[in-house]
C-alpha cells in the first residue's frame, strides 16, 4: 500500500486540481443547520464532525428520486423516451470508514446480476476518499459489525489526520489516480498499518459482535419478543432513509393526461403500504412485523445471500430515531445478551 502525506492547508489546492481535472468534489458541508454531502468548491465549507455525517453519502449513487424514463401520448400512440443520465467524475471526500463500507454493500445489491444501469454508471464515476475516525460518538458501533474506525472497506484513498497533515493511504488504483492528479501536493510518507493507527477503537463501548446473530434471530421469527421491541416503532422512514445501506425503492408513474414519467423513489420497509397487496392482504400487518423485517434483513437474510451483514454500525438510525430505538441494543436484547 502506498502512503503519502498531504498538508491540511493544501487540501484546497488538491480540490482545485481535482476540479480542474473535471471532477466534482462532494464533501460534508452545512447549510441551514443541515449537514450533508454537497458538491463544493470552497474547502472552508467542509464541515467534518466526529462520527458520520448525519445524512449518508448514498443519495449520490442512489438518488431519492430517479426518473427511469418518460413518455408522451399522441392520439392512440405512446412514445417512450429513455432517460439520459449526466454524470461527472465525482470524488466523495471525507466519508467515514463506515460510509465507505456501506457503499460496498450497495455495490453487492446494485451491481449483482442484473446490474442496475443507473447505479453502475454513477458508481463507475465515483472515487471514495475516506477519513479515518480519531474520535467515536456514543452511537457508533462499527466494531460490532466487524469494521473499525480505520477500516479500509470500500475506500479508494484513506486519510488519517495527524496534526497539520493527513496520512494518505492508497487503497486502490482509482485512489492512486486521484493523487496523480496533482502529485506535487503529496509527499511520499510512512505510517503504521491502518489497523495500527491510534484509533478510538479500544475505548469504544459498543462492540459486542452482531456478525453471527443471523441464525439466532431467524429462530426468533415467531417470537413474541418482536411485539415487545417493535411496539414503539412509529413506522416513520428515518432509519431507512438515513441508513447508508438501505436501498429499498418504489416505482411510480407521475403523469397528466398527455405525458408522464416513471420514476424510482426511496421506500422503506417500515411503511404499512410497503408490502400491502392490492387485494388488501398484508404479509406484515403491524409495526412489530415490519421492524422484524428490518432487523432480519440487516442481520440475517442479507448475510445468507451475500455473506455479510447489511449494517455498518454507523448508528444513524439509533441516533435519529424519534423514539430512541437502538438497533444495537435491540439485537443484543433479542439474542439474549443484554437485559436493558
Amino acid at each position: 500500500m502506498k502512503i503519502w502525506t498531504l498538508q491540511k492547508k493544501r487540501v484546497g489546492d488538491w480540490m482545485a486540481a481535482l476540479r480542474a481535472a473535471g471532477k466534482e468534489v462532494l464533501a460534508p458541508c452545512e447549510a441551514d443547520g443541515l449537514l450533508r454531502f454537497r458538491p463544493i468548491d470552497d474547502p472552508s465549507a467542509i464541515a467534518v464532525r466526529p462520527g458520520p455525517c448525519p445524512f449518508p453519502f448514498k443519495e449520490w449513487l442512489f438518488p431519492p428520486h430517479q426518473v427511469l424514463f418518460s413518455y408522451q401520448f399522441e392520439g392512440g400512440k405512446v412514445n417512450l423516451r429513455e432517460e439520459e443520465v449526466l454524470v461527472n467524475d465525482q470524488v466523495g471526500l471525507f466519508l467515514r470508514p463506515c460510509d465507505a463500507a456501506a457503499i460496498k454493500i450497495l455495490d453487492t445489491v446494485f451491481l449483482s446480476d442484473p446490474p442496475d444501469g443507473f447505479y453502475q454508471l454513477r458508481r463507475s464515476h465515483l472515487t471514495i476518499v475516506t477519513l479515518g475516525c480519531r474520535q467515536a460518538v456514543p452511537s457508533c458501533f462499527c466494531p460490532a459489525v466487524g469494521l473499525s474506525p480505520t477500516s479500509l472497506e470500500g475506500s479508494d484513498l484513506f486519510l488519517w489526520e495527524e496534526d497539520d497533515r493527513f496520512l494518505v493511504y492508497g487503497v486502490s488504483e482509482k485512489g492512486d489516480r486521484l493523487v496523480q492528479v496533482s502529485p506535487d501536493l503529496f509527499e511520499p510518507g510512512e505510517g503504521p498499518e491502518p489497523d495500527q493507527l491510534p484509533s478510538p477503537l479500544p475505548f469504544m463501548e459498543r462492540k459486542e459482535p452482531l456478525t453471527n446473530v443471523g441464525q439466532k434471530l431467524q429462530g426468533l421469527f415467531e417470537s413474541d419478543l418482536w411485539q415487545e421491541v417493535g411496539r414503539t416503532c412509529l413506522g416513520c422512514g428515518i432509519c431507512a432513509y438515513l441508513c447508508p445501506t438501505c436501498h429499498c425503492f418504489d416505482i411510480v408513474d407521475e403523469s397528466d393526461a398527455y405525458s408522464g414519467i416513471r420514476c424510482r423513489n426511496w421506500d422503506c420497509c417500515a411503511f404499512p403500504l410497503f408490502t400491502l397487496h392490492a387485494s388488501g392482504h398484508n404479509p406484515r400487518p403491524d409495526q412489530p412485523s415490519r421492524y422484524r423485517q428490518r432487523v432480519l434483513h440487516k442481520f440475517a437474510y442479507f448475510l445468507q445471500t451475500f455473506q455479510q451483514n447489511m449494517c455498518v454500525g454507523c448508528g444513524r438510525c439509533s441516533l435519529f430515531c424519534p423514539v430512541g430505538m437502538d438497533i444495537y441494543q435491540i439485537v443484543l436484547q433479542l439474542t439474549g445478551r443484554c437485559l436493558v
Binding site: 401520448f73 399522441e74 397528466d256 388488501g280
Partner: protein, 659 residues
C-alpha cells in the same frame, strides 16, 4: 381507452362567429380517447341530436361531449339523446363554449384556444365519468302531521282530501291549538270558534285522518319517503270510544286546578274537557290533579267513576306506543309566548291585572271564563282604562327577540276595538313602535280602529309598570313629542313576542334545523319556504316563523301540496350524484358528519366474522344526500368521493385546462 365522441355546435353564427368550430372539431379528434369528432350548425336540433345518436351506435362511444351552449340549457336534451341511443345519460356532458366563450370574447384566436381547452377539460372529465342510475327511494303513502292547531288541521284536511292517509298527532287532549283560544279574528272579526270548529269536526270525521290526540312523537327514523315514526299516546284514563262527552263526571270531581286552556283564568276539574267544542269531545283525567295522586294508586276517590254512566273511566290506562310508516312529515308545532325578563319588568306575573294577549283573548271570548265580559282578574271590576303595549320582547335584540312577531299590531288593535265595543266608556291606550299592517284589509282595519274608535295610539316605549293605589301606573315616553308620560290603568295587556314551540327534543328527533327562537329553518328563505333541509319534512304555520291565520292556512296548504306531490309518486328518483365512502380507508373521524347539512352521513360498524368490532366508519344515506360535496373536502384521507365530480375527474380536468 375510452371512446369519446365530440360534437361541436356552431349555434348558427353564435359560436362560429368567434370560435373556429371546424378547427376545434379537428383538434378535438387528436385528444387521446376521442374516436369521433364532428361539427354541425345546430347540435340541439333533431338532425344534430341524430348525429349524436348515430355516432354512439356506430362507433360504440363510451362518452359524449357536446361543445355548445350552457349545460343549464341543453344538458338534459343531449343526455336524453344519449339515453335513447343506449348510452348512460351521465356519460354525456357539455362544454360551454357559447355563454362562457364566444359571447364574451372577440379575439378569434384566443376564443378558439379557450374553447379547445375547455372542450379538452370536459373530455377528460367524461372519460372518467361512471354510468349512474337515479337512486330509487320507495315512498310510503302516508303523511304525519305534528301539531293540531289550525296549520296542522288545514294540512291534514288537504292531504286527506287528496286521498292520502294522514296521521295527525297533537300533544293536548284536543286539537284546535292557539286559534281555539281566540275571541274574534282580525280584520273581519269572525268568531274564531265559529270558523275553526267545523274544521276540527271534519278532521275527526275524515276517513283518511287518523287523529292521535294527547300523543307525542317519540322517535323518527329513516329518511324521505321512508320515515318510521314512533308515537306515544299518553293515558287519558278515559276510554275515548265509551266516553260520550256528557260531562257528568266533572261536577262529581272534588279536585280543581287552574285551567290552562283559559290561560289559568278559570278552574277546571281533575277530570275535564279543555273547552266545550273540543275534538275529540271526550274527557281526560289529569293524574297530576287527581286526589288519587299521580300514580292513581291506591284509589282514594272514585267519584268520577261512579258518576260515569258508560263506565268509560279506566284508572289502569297505560301509555300506548303506536308505530307508523310515513313518507312525509309536516311540522306544525305552532308557537308560545315569550316569557322573558323584559316581560316581567312590565309587571307580568307580579300584578294579576297585567296580562298577555292570549289571556285577554280568553277574557274577550264568549266561551271564556267571564263569558266575554271584560273584567279585571284581581277584583272582577270592569276596567275603565286599559293600556295595550305592543312589541313586548319583539324587535328587542337585547332583552327579547330581534324579529317582529308580525301579528301584534293587528290583534292589539282588535283587542282595543273589542274592548271599546264592550266598554264604550272605557279608555284605551296603545303604546307602539311602528304600526305594521301588511295584509289584505289590515291597514284599513287599523285606520278604522284609530279613526273611529277613539283609541289613543302613543308612539313610544314603556319602561315600567308599577302598582299604585289599586292602579297600574304605566310609565313611558311619547317619542313623537319627546314627552315622558304616565298612564294610570286598570288593566295592562302586553303584546308579547312569539317564539317557536319546537321543543328541542322533537327537533333532535327530526334532525330539524331550528334557529335559537325555535323556528324551523326552511330550505331556502325565498324559494323553498315550506321545505326543510331534511328532504320529506315540511313546515307549516308559525313553526316556521310568526304569521297570521291566513298565512298559516296558506302555508299549511302549501306544505300539504308538497307532501302530496311527494307521496303521489310510488318511488322517488333522486339524482345519483351523491357522495360515497370507501369503508376500507375511512378512519371514522366523522368530520364529514359534522359538515353535512343534511344529516346524510351515518355511522356504520365494521365487524369481523367473529363479530368483533373492528372500526366504526361513515356511510352515506343516498336517500338523503344532496351531492354538495362538503364532506369530500372535509375528509382528510379522501375516503369520500362525489359521483359526477370525483377527485379523479377534477384532477384530470385541471390537467387539461392548465397544460
Amino acid at each position: 381507452m375510452a371512446r369519446i365522441g365530440v360534437f361541436v355546435c356552431h349555434c348558427g353564427e353564435n359560436i362560429a362567429r368567434t370560435v373556429r368550430v371546424k378547427e376545434l372539431a379537428q383538434k378535438a379528434a387528436q385528444i387521446p380517447g376521442v374516436v369521433h369528432s364532428e361539427d354541425y350548425i345546430y347540435m340541439c336540433s333533431e338532425p344534430g341530436q341524430k348525429k349524436v345518436r348515430d355516432a354512439i351506435q356506430q362507433k360504440k362511444l363510451t362518452g359524449v361531449v357536446v361543445a355548445a351552449c350552457s349545460p343549464q340549457l341543453h344538458e338534459l336534451t343531449f343526455r336524453k339523446a344519449c339515453q335513447e341511443a343506449g348510452l348512460n345519460p351521465y356519460l354525456c356532458e357539455m362544454a360551454n363554449i357559447r355563454e362562457q366563450c364566444s359571447w364574451v370574447h372577440t379575439d378569434r384566436e384566443k376564443a378558439t384556444q379557450k374553447a379547445y381547452e375547455h372542450l379538452r377539460y370536459i373530455v377528460e372529465k367524461v372519460r372518467r365519468n361512471r354510468p349512474l342510475r337515479p337512486i330509487p327511494v320507495p315512498i310510503t303513502p302516508r303523511v304525519l302531521v305534528i301539531g293540531g292547531g289550525i296549520a296542522g288541521i288545514q294540512a291534514a284536511l288537504d292531504i286527506a282530501d287528496g286521498g292520502v292517509p294522514v296521521t295527525l298527532v297533537e300533544r293536548q287532549p284536543s286539537i284546535g291549538g292557539n286559534m281555539a283560544r281566540l275571541s274574534e279574528t282580525f280584520p273581519t272579526l269572525d268568531c274564531a270558534q265559529c270558523i275553526l270548529t267545523p274544521k276540527m269536526v271534519s278532521v275527526r270525521q275524515h276517513p283518511n285522518i287518523e287523529l292521535l290526540t294527547y300523543s307525542e312523537v317519540e322517535d323518527v327514523k329513516g329518511f324521505v319517503g321512508n320515515f318510521q315514526v314512533t308515537i306515544k299516546k299518553k293515558p287519558r284514563y278515559v276510554d275515548e270510544d265509551l266516553c260520550t262527552g256528557c260531562g257528568d263526571c266533572a261536577p262529581a270531581c272534588p279536585s280543581a286546578v287552574p285551567n290552562e286552556f283559559d290561560r289559568n283564568l278559570s278552574w277546571r276539574k281533575a277530570i275535564y274537557i279543555p273547552f266545550p267544542q273540543a275534538v275529540p269531545p271526550v274527557y281526560t283525567l289529569d293524574p297530576q290533579a287527581c286526589l288519587n295522586g299521580p300514580k292513581l294508586f291506591p284509589l282514594a276517590c272514585e267519584r268520577c267513576y261512579q258518576a260515569c254512566g258508560p263506565k268509560a273511566i279506566n284508572f289502569n290506562d297505560r301509555p300506548k306506543i303506536i308505530e307508523r310508516k310515513v313518507g312525509a312529515i309536516i311540522v306544525a308545532t305552532g308557537y308560545e309566548l315569550l316569557n322573558a325578563d323584559y316581560v316581567k319588568e312590565l309587571g307580568y306575573g307580579l300584578y294579576p291585572d297585567v296580562m298577555d294577549g292570549l289571556e285577554f283573548e280568553r277574557l274577550l271570548s264568549a266561551s271564556g271564563p267571564t263569558g266575554g265580559e271584560v273584567v279585571r282578574p284581581s277584583d272582577h271590576k270592569v276596567p275603565k282604562t286599559v293600556v295595550f303595549i305592543q312589541c313586548v320582547g319583539s324587535r328587542n335584540p337585547a332583552n327579547g327577540v330581534p324579529y317582529c312577531s308580525r301579528i301584534c299590531c293587528m290583534y292589539t288593535a282588535k283587542h282595543a276595538l273589542l274592548y271599546k265595543h264592550k266598554v264604550p266608556e272605557g279608555k284605551a291606550f296603545i303604546f307602539y313602535m311602528d304600526i305594521r299592517a301588511g295584509g289584505k284589509g289590515y291597514e284599513e282595519f287599523i285606520q278604522r280602529v284609530m279613526e273611529q274608535e277613539r283609541i289613543t295610539y302613543i308612539r313610544g316605549a314603556v319602561s315600567k309598570v308599577y302598582g299604585l293605589n289599586g292602579k297600574l301606573m304605566v310609565q313611558g315616553v311619547d317619542t313623537l313629542s319627546g314627552q315622558r308620560l304616565e298612564v294610570a290603568a286598570d288593566l295592562v295587556v302586553l303584546a308579547t313576542a312569539m317564539v317557536g314551540a319546537n321543543s328541542s327534543d322533537l327537533v333532535q328527533k327530526l334532525r330539524l334545523a331550528v334557529d335559537r327562537y325555535g323556528f324551523g329553518q326552511e330550505a331556502h328563505p325565498k324559494l323553498r319556504p315550506v321545505e326543510t333541509l331534511s328532504a320529506g319534512i315540511f313546515l307549516a304555520g308559525v313553526a316556521q316563523a310568526p304569521k297570521d291565520i291566513p298565512d298559516t292556512v296558506a302555508q299549511a296548504s302549501a306544505a300539504a301540496g308538497k307532501a302530496l306531490a311527494l307521496v303521489a309518486q310510488k318511488t322517488l328518483e333522486r339524482e345519483p350524484t351523491v357522495a360515497s365512502v370507501n369503508e376500507f380507508t375511512c378512519v371514522g373521524c366523522f368530520e364529514c358528519q359534522k359538515v353535512c347539512p343534511y344529516g346524510a352521513i351515518e355511522r356504520k360498524e365494521i365487524r369481523d366474522r367473529a363479530g368483533n368490532l373492528l372500526k366504526v366508519v361513515s356511510t352515506v344515506n343516498t336517500g338523503v344526500c344532496n351531492g354538495c360535496g362538503a364532506c369530500v373536502v372535509a375528509c382528510r384521507n379522501k375516503s369520500m368521493d362525489l359521483a359526477g365530480f370525483s377527485e379523479e375527474q377534477i384532477f384530470a380536468s385541471l390537467a387539461a385546462v392548465t397544460v
